[in-house]
Structures are given as C-alpha cells and as structure tokens.
C-alpha cells in the first residue's frame, strides 16, 4: 500500500515538475504575473510529494516490508533500527529518490523564502530548477524505480552491506547530495541570468548563499567519507584519489572557485561572464560525478556496455544540461559586460589567480580520472592513473595557491600598493620559514614534505590572522577602538579567517601524517611485548563474541608509554547475512597522534598478525575541514544576505568608457 502511494507521489511530482518547467518560463518571457507565480506552489507541492514518497520508502524499510524489491535486496529484520533508516539511501534507487527530494527541498526553499527576488528572476530560476527535476524524476521512475514489488516476497532480506552499517558512511551520502544538488541552484541562477542577459551585484548576492550552503555540505560530505575510509578500511589512509572521491572533489574545487569569483561580482561588478560559466561548470561537475558513479563506466567501459540503460540516461541528462548550459552561455555571455577597473596588484587580480589555479587543478583531476576511459575507448588498451599521478600533477597547484593566498587576500580592492599591503605579512613569512627550517633541522631523515608543509600551514594560518588583525587595525589604533571594530566586523570576515585557517590545519595534518607516520607489521603472541615509536604494545587476548547481526573476533591490546596506558580493542566482524568480513581498527584518537591497531589473521605458526600505526596529528585533517565548513557557515549568516535584501538598482549612469 505504502509503496504504491510512494510510486503515485513520484509520478505526480514529475507532472508538477513539467508544469513548473514550462508555465513560469513563458510567464516570465511574456510578463504574465499569474503564470510566473505558478512556480511557487508547484515547487512546494513537488517537495511535499517527494517527501511523502521518501517517507513511504522509509516506512517500508523500517517495517521490513520484503515485498518491496529494494527492501528485500538491501535490508534485514535483525538490522539495527538506525541502519533501517539509513539503508533507504544506501542503494542506487533509494539514493536517487533522496537526490530528487533534496532537489525539491532547494526548489521549495527558493519558492518559499525568495519573496525578495524579482518575480521574473524567481520564475526563471524555479523553471530551470524544475527542468533538472524533470530529468532526474524521469531517471528515477523509468530506470531506477525504488517501489517495485516482488511477487513472492522472501521471509528475510539479504541485508545491508556491512561496510555501510556505520555512522560515518550512513551520513556521507546525504551531505554529499546536499552539496551536489545545492550547486543546481547556482546553475539555475546562472541560466536565469543568461536568459535575462543581466548579472549584477544583487544577482551575486542571491547566488552566493546557495553556493555557500552547497559548498559547506560538500566539504562536510567529502570529509565524512575520508574519515570513514580512515577508520574503517583498515590501513588508515585518508584519501585515495579514487575516481569516486575525485567525482566529489572536482565539484568542490569548482564550487570553491565560484564562491570566490561571486565575491568579485558582488563587490566590484566584474568577472560576471566567468562567474556564470563557473556556476554552470560547478553543477556540470556534480553531474559528471553522478554519471561516473551511477553508470558503472568506472569499472570498465565494458561494465557500462553490459547494462547501459542507466548510464545512457545519465549521459543524456549530462549532455542536455552541460550542452544546453554552455550553448546558452555562448549565445548570451556577451551581454554580461562589465566596466569596472582594477590594477594588476589588487584583490581582484588575487581572486583571478585563485580561480585560475582552482579551475586548472579541477581540470587536472578530471583529465586524470577520465584518462583510462579515453585511452580504453580510443585504443582498447587498459591503463591506470593512480595516486602517484595525482600527487605529482595536482599538488603543485595547491602549493602555489597557498603561497599566494595570504597576499591575495590582504590586498585592497581596485589598486594596491604591494609594499604597503605586504607590511603585516613580512613577519608572518619570517616566522613560517623559520618554523619550516626548524622542523627540517630537527627531524632525522624525515621527508621534505614536513618542513614545506609546516611552512605553508603557518604561512596561511598566521597570514589569515594577520589579515584579520589588519582589518581591525590591531595595535594601529587604541585597543578599545580595535575591539569596537572587531564587534562591527561582518560575519563574512570571520568566515574568511576561519575557512583559510582550516585550509592551513588540513595542510598541517596531511604533512605531519605523511612525513612522520610510523608503521609496524608483525606476528605477535599473547603476552609478548614490543615497541613501536614511544609506545609498548602487548596483545592480551583474542576473544570470539556476538554482535547484533555479526560475529566478532576481538583482540585486547595493552598500549603503554611513559605517560599513559590504555587498552584498545581491534576487531574483525563477520556479518551473518552476507558472510562478509570487515575490520574495525582499534584507535585511540588524540590531538597529537592516533594509535591505530588492526588485528589480522591467526597465523599457522601460532600468534596473530598485527599492524600498528602511530599517526601524528592526523585528526587535524578533519578538524581543518570542520573549521573550514564552520567558516562557510559563519559567512552564510552574514547580515548582507539576510537584511539588505538587495533591490536591483537602476542602471547607474556613468560615462560609458570607450572600448
């Protein structure tokens, strides 16, 4: 019954999406207010319908209704309740329903809270948003129907993949989708702007919060995935340059560029066409990511060919969206002229450099990810492009970006005196380089990444703080005056210092763990002690236990150092439904280091294989991503996005500069 209601709801949602895609757009062209106004209720109804459909599917999972194919294939009665909820999106069909729901949430949000938008712009934005909705609802209904019934329902389902029965991974997809789909708003605004042939500061102000929100979710989603891989996959890696990871990283890079270029549009009324292009590209990269993951093309061109239906459909959506978007851009971008002027040394130039480096690095990731496909398609040969390529080809861009960041962000708009602007930074540079030199001289035989990483991390964090101090004229004016300025500082300035410092913390964590990680692999017996780094390890015992839906082999390891002593319990689990093993590393987390233990197999000669890692400062990678996201969040609540509801100014009359 519920499944049929859900089915009914998604079909109705498709019909409403079609109406919303057409009527308001015509209304906006013709200036018919009631046609334009139709976008608001249709967007809201779509959200309600998809919410109902999602609720219906969730209900089927919670009550373990195995007559629904999807539930039978992905759930089981004895599965913990929380994973019955998260199991809804831990499969292709359910996750596509979630994708559509999130798309509808964003649409409804614009409809409901966008009263300050000019009616024509709102109608066009919602119409474009509905076009995307039509495509993905059709994809859901015709290729990925989550509500299919089984004629002969089984008594027990086949269970959820054990790797997905984990809090980190349970939350990973929704965050990632909020990010991916959130970028559709930027896309819709961009297309609407191209239709209108007008991009101004007001437009940038409307686009920026949506992009910012999407970016925060994307940052958190990627970070959750990386953290999950770290503690779950069993060797403590945190980034693999896997095509699936790259699929989420490329939109992140472009969205980051977009956030920065939108500032230029808003504050300086230039870089308009480029910003619109980035908005189109950011969502395009989200779609490419979806295509790569959903079509199976990544495993091999052949896997794609064996079941091409879904892949072809996504490819079609991809072609229409990107092709359509870029065609619109080609036709209309010349309308987006800007006349504002800035010097070579200026904040504007700094942000252009930021955009250049971020876009090229995103392109490098794209080329690297697609290269094996291109080669296989062109020559039939199979080659691999793995982490060594990305480390070599991508990292230099980030190093240059970080070197330029503090300088670019401290430069004033329009025209800077480089010497004067750099004044607060010389000290920072001296400290950073000294710190790097110190690290270099102290470490024995370590890798060069440590001193470089420490220098860059200090440079970017202290640089952000120096910029902040500069803003409140710290020590330039009396302390009380500085505090007053601090109180008046817009939230976006707080966001900036947080986001940039977060980047520094990430670099600090990455270079520490890469340079100074200690690894030990050996066979150990009960009671045997051995040293790794400054810690002593003893395997006390290994016990067989039972979990809710899995059996456990759990080791008890005593870890001692001069200052502390604790027990860790590395586990191996065998999930009953799938007979599939997973590792649960025993991890003692800390701000200065993680102690990470993986229990291996019983050895024929007696004893157990055991891997031990000491990972210095590794958690700062994720602390950094959190600080970065917090920066985005703080910026999101900047006054200018809420109050000064930007009204479109009439064209400023200025002497048109000769061109």
């Amino acid at each position: 019954m519920y499944a049929e209601l859900g089915q009914y709801a998604i079909i109705l949602a498709l019909i409403f999406a079609v109406i919303q895609a057409i009527i308001p757009l015509i209304g906006a062209q013709k200036g018919w207010n009631n046609w334009m106004a139709l976008a608001v209720p249709t967007a809201q109804i779509q959200f309600i319908l998809l919410f109902l459909a999602f609720a219906a599917l969730t209900y089927s999972f919670v009550v373990s209704d195995f007559s629904v194919l999807l539930v039978a294939a992905n759930s089981a009665v004895d599965k913990p309740l929380v994973y019955k909820f998260t199991g809804v999106w831990a499969n292709h069909e359910g996750s596509m329903l979630l994708w559509n729901l999130i798309l509808a949430i964003f649409g409804a949000a614009v409809a409901t809270f966008g009263a300050n938008l000019p009616p024509a712009l709102r109608a066009r934005v919602l119409s474009v948003q509905a076009m995307i909705g039509v495509a993905f609802l059709a994809f859901l209904i015709f290729t990925s129907n989550p509500f299919l019934r089984l004629e002969n329902p089984p008594l027990e389902g086949s269970g959820l993949n054990p790797l997905l029965q984990d809090p980190g991974l349970a939350l990973h997809p929704p965050f990632l989708y909020l990010g991916y789909v959130g970028l559709s708003m930027a896309f819709s605004f961009a297309i609407a702007a191209l239709i209108e042939g007008k991009v101004d500061a007001a437009w940038a102000r409307w686009v920026r919060p949506w992009t910012l929100a999407a970016w925060v979710f994307l940052t958190l989603g990627i970070s959750l995935g990386s953290w999950w891989a770290y503690y779950e996959l069993g060797w403590g890696g945190w980034w693999f340059w896997d095509p699936v990871e790259n699929s989420s990283f490329m939109p992140w890079l472009v969205a980051t560029a977009l956030l920065h270029s939108a500032i230029v549009v808003e504050k300086r009324d230039t870089l308009k066409a480029w910003t619109v292009l980035l908005a189109i590209l950011a969502f395009s990269f989200s779609l490419i990511g979806t295509f790569l993951v959903r079509s199976g093309v990544l495993t091999s061109v052949h896997a794609f060919a064996t079941d091409p239906r879904r892949g072809m459909f996504v490819l079609l959506i991809l072609a229409l969206t990107i092709g359509g978007g870029l065609t619109m851009y080609a036709l209309r971008a010349n309308k987006l002229k800007s006349h504002s002027v800035f010097a070579t040394f200026s904040r504007e130039s700094g942000l252009v450099l930021n955009n250049l480096l971020l876009s090229v690095s995103a392109a490098v990731v794209l080329v690297g990810t697609m290269w094996p496909l291109v080669i296989e398609f062109a020559t039939g040969e199979k080659i691999s492009v793995g982490p060594p390529f990305f480390d070599m080809a991508f990292t230099p861009f980030m190093i240059v970006l970080v070197m330029a960041l503090p300088i670019g962000s401290i430069l004033p708009w329009k025209r800077a005196n480089l010497g004067r602007s750099m004044k607060p930074l010389w000290g920072v540079m001296a400290i950073s380089v000294t710190l790097g030199a110190l690290v270099w001289s102290l470490q024995t035989g370590g890798r060069i990444i440590a001193p470089i990483g420490m220098t860059l991390a200090a440079w970017i964090i202290l640089g952000a703080i120096a910029d902040f101090g500069n803003r409140i004229r710290f020590r330039k004016v009396p302390f009380g005056e500085s505090m007053r300025r601090l109180g008046n500082l817009p939230r976006s300035d707080w966001g900036k210092v947080l986001a940039h410092s977060g980047m520094g913390l990430i670099i600090f964590g990455i270079s520490s763990v890469t340079a100074w990680e200690i690894e030990d692999i050996r066979t150990t017996r009960y009671g045997e002690t051995y040293d790794v780094g400054s810690y002593t390890f003893t395997l006390n015992n290994v016990k067989d236990l039972e979990g809710p839906n899995y059996s456990i082999v759990r080791g008890e390891v005593l870890v001692e150092s001069e200052t502390e002593s604790f027990l860790l319990y590395p586990e191996k689990r065998i999930y009953t439904a799938q007979q599939q093993p997973t590792t649960e590393a025993g991890i003692d987390m800390g701000l200065t280091r993680d102690v990470y233990i993986v229990l291996g197999d019983k050895q024929e000669a007696g004893g157990y294989a055991m891997r031990v890692y000491i990972k210095p400062f590794v958690n700062w990678i994720w602390i950094g991503t959190l600080v970065m996201s917090l920066g985005g969040l703080v910026s999101l609540f900047d006054r200018r996005f809420r109050v000064a509801a930007p009204s479109r100014k009439g064209r400023k009359t200025t002497a048109a500069p000769a061109e």
Binding site: T299, V364, V385
Partner: protein, 153 residues
C-alpha cells in the same frame, strides 16, 4: 569510499569474500632494506582485481601473490625498475598506478602545465584589459558634452 562505489554499483558482496590483510608478516623479507624497497614498489602497482587499490593495501589473494613475486625478484637481485618491468611484461601497463611518461600519456602529464599556460594567458590579458580601461569619470554623456563645450569656449 571505493567500497561504497562497488557496493552501490554492483551490489555484489561476494567479491570481498576472502578475509586477509594487506601485507602479511609471513610475506615480509628479513632484510629491512629489501623489504622497504618492496613496500615502495608495491605501492605503485595496482591490484588487478580491485577498484583502484595498490597491492600493498589490498586484501585480495592475487595482490598477495604479486607482493610475493615482487619480493622474489628483489631477493634475486633485480633493481626496483627491473622488478616493475618484469611485472609490466607479464600483466601489462594496467598494473602501473603511475602512468608512463611515453606516447599518448605525455598529453596526460602535460595537461596541467598546458592548461595553466592557456588559462594564465587568458587571466593576464583580462587583468591587463581591466587596468587599461579609462577609470569612471562619474560624468554621464550629457555632462561630458557639457564639459567639452565649456572647454571649447
């Protein structure tokens, strides 16, 4: 994340059937220097039956066989490159996680610098064009005409 991919796309849990660890203690060489070289080589070789995993990290049986093969070659005195060549001869370029610097792959390696140069030219010419434009005078057309006529007088 790579497992997520496998799960979401193929839904075939069977492929993760054999529980094992990445590098097993029993595989490791007694000579620490050779073992260290083996680890470095292993990290650059792809596990052929996995999703984008190197044989050093992989739990699959085939990866274990390759790890042992790498160590055998090293014990027999091969150089690092010699070991890699030996494996590429048997399994093809697909095992190399770092693509070669030859043939069409040159384009892959050059893509970053090339795009940077192209983009850089675009960015520089944009910035220069912004600098060259006459600054806004704050006068509209009428005012400019008026000013011009006043100056003529």
């Amino acid at each position: 994340m790579k497992y997520l991919l496998i799960i979401l796309m193929l839904s075939s849990p069977a492929m993760l059937a054999s529980p094992a660890m990445a590098v097993e203690p029993s595989e490791m060489l007694d000579n620490p220097e050779l073992e260290a070289r083996a680890r470095v080589i292993s990290k650059g070789l792809r596990c052929l039956v996995c999703q984008n995993e190197n044989i050093d990290d992989s739990n699959s049986g085939l990866a274990a066989d390759l790890r042992i093969l790498v160590r055998e070659r090293l014990t027999e005195g091969d150089t690092n490159q010699g070991v890699v060549d030996y494996i590429v001869d048997r399994f093809g370029e697909y095992v190399l996680l770092k693509p070669t610097f030859s043939g069409t792959n040159m384009l892959l390696w050059a893509s970053g610098p090339l795009l940077l140069i192209l983009g850089g030219i675009g960015a520089v010419s944009f910035i220069r064009s912004r600098g060259k434009q006459r600054p806004e005078t704050g006068l509209d057309e009428d005012e400019t005409k008026k000013l011009a006529s006043l100056l003529e007088d």
